[in-house]
């Protein structure tokens, strides 16, 4: 088990948005989180990540879990470089940047980077500490074909290395998925399609 939640409820400002019930993320799992706009997918990921408090329930985690938030949540004018942003996560910054095709762009300003480059940098930041679990919020938005290939490879490497991932995907990717959680009407259910 990498993460488990019991009686888990997430929301904003004390207002419940999603009831997760009892769920867990195990080693080797790759789970896609599905649901319409405003169904609480991003809130769920942020809460599991520890960025937002859960409204109810308990959670347990074993090992490091990292979070890749949506790139739109960050100011386009951040006074930093792609390398400095990734280095804040600890781990091997150069290797993490190389994994997402940004090996030569560590010194590039965030403000001078494209949406796709910023997206890759956030992916590198999530990968850098070599976590057991990764939570990804629309990691494929803004990415070109090469970027999507690198993302797919990173997700596959994560599972084959004994880790797991839980992701909200913008579109279907050619990556092996072990489960789908559907967020609808304030509940999370398994989608067995």
């Amino acid at each position: 088990m990498i993460w488990s939640g019991t009686g888990f409820v997430v929301g904003h400002g004390g207002r419940p948005i999603l009831r997760l019930g009892d769920r867990h993320l195990d080693a080797g799992q790759g789970i896609v989180l599905q649901g319409g706009n405003g169904s609480g997918k991003s809130t769920l990921l942020a809460t599991i990540a520890g960025s937002l408090p859960a409204l109810a329930g308990r959670q347990q985690r074993q090992g490091t879990i990292t979070w890749m938030p949506q790139v739109g949540g960050l100011s386009p004018h951040l006074p930093t470089t792609l390398g400095e942003l990734v280095a804040l996560a600890g781990g091997d910054t150069a290797q993490a940047l190389a994994r997402v095709g940004l090996g030569s762009r560590a010194h590039q300003r965030w403000s001078a980077s494209s949406g796709g480059e910023r997206q890759r940098a956030l992916l590198a930041r999530a990968l850098a500490p070599r976590p057991q679990g990764i939570l990804l919020d629309e990691p494929d938005s803004h990415l070109d074909a090469e970027g999507r290939d690198l993302l797919v490879r990173a997700l596959e490497d994560q599972r084959s290395g004994g880790g797991s991932w839980l992701a909200v995907l913008h579109q279907e990717l050619p990556v092996a998925v072990t489960g789908r959680w559907l967020c609808r009407d304030g509940e999370v259910t398994d989608d067995h399609r």
Binding site: G50, S51, T66, P69, G73, P79, E84, A89
Partner: protein
């Protein structure tokens, strides 16, 4: 005048101004990086309101300036920009109204707006030196969580870097630096050194870490050029230091755009 005589007269004032400029440039840079640059102008105004209220209540002007600066700075980290702008505007007018019935009070508020750095003795200089040293140690010790909290607080929370705690510490740090520097270098100096060095450094440097090194250098450059200039031209040193710091920051910012 020999160097020894010059130092005897102006040494404490120069040291106080230099140290205060460094103590203010560091939190000022972090506030700019966090998109809270307006707070850098509003918090010293709030400190002035505190000083005026202190005078009205019969305290000395410095006794309430420090707590007012700390309270405003800690709140300024989380208050929306509109609230900060309101504090800035009210802070310009309220101190004058509060002490308008007292000529003594008006003098005190005017004195706080300007500065008396040249009349400062070593006793008045050491608090600024202490704050500058503490600020540099804090910026070094907390370089990772501070930058994470400023650049991406939501992610920093997920990484266990306690951004809320560090943001409050940044507010406290800035508030203490402002409240302590205000009696020594005045409102003009406080706002100048909070705003200008960080602005120039962030335009030149690619990383926030490098900007935290360059900002105090810009502040020291302005101060170093200011005292002999002010002495030679018989001008008040703090406004001269602020103008020279603005020039240095402006040149560096323009050069930074070409990088």
């Amino acid at each position: 005048m020999t160097i020894a005589e010059w130092w005897a007269w102006f040494g404490p004032g120069w040291v106080a101004l230099a140290a205060a400029s460094v103590a203010l440039a560091l939190p000022g840079t972090l506030w700019w990086a966090a998109g809270r640059g307006l707070a850098a102008a509003a918090v010293p105004q709030a400190a002035l309101v505190g000083a005026a209220i202190g005078l009205l209540l019969g305290y000395s002007r410095d006794q309430l300036a420090l707590p007012a600066a700390v309270a405003a700075a800690v709140a300024g980290v989380v208050v929306p920009s509109a609230g900060v702008a309101a504090v800035l505007t009210v802070g310009l007018a309220l101190p004058v109204l509060l002490v308008s019935g007292s000529p003594h009070g008006m003098n005190e508020v005017t004195d706080l707006t300007l500065s008396r750095v040249l009349g400062l003795g070593w006793t008045g200089a050491w608090p600024s030196v202490g704050l500058a040293v503490i600020g540099m140690l804090l910026a070094w010790w907390g370089r990772r969580p501070l930058r994470a909290a400023v650049l991406d607080g939501a992610w920093a929370a997920s990484a266990g870097l306690h951004p809320a705690w560090w943001s409050r510490l940044l507010g406290l740090w800035g508030g203490v630096a402002i409240g302590a520097a205000l009696p020594a270098i005045g409102l003009i100096g406080v706002i100048g050194f909070l705003v200008l060095p960080g602005l120039g450094a962030l335009r030149w440097c690619r990383t926030l870490g490098a900007a935290l090194v360059l900002a105090p250098v810009i502040a020291l450059l302005g101060v170093t050029l200011a005292l002999p200039t002010a002495h030679a031209a018989d001008l008040p040193p703090v406004p001269v230091a602020v103008i020279l710091t603005a020039l240095a920051a402006g040149v560096i910012a323009l050069a930074g755009r070409r990088r």
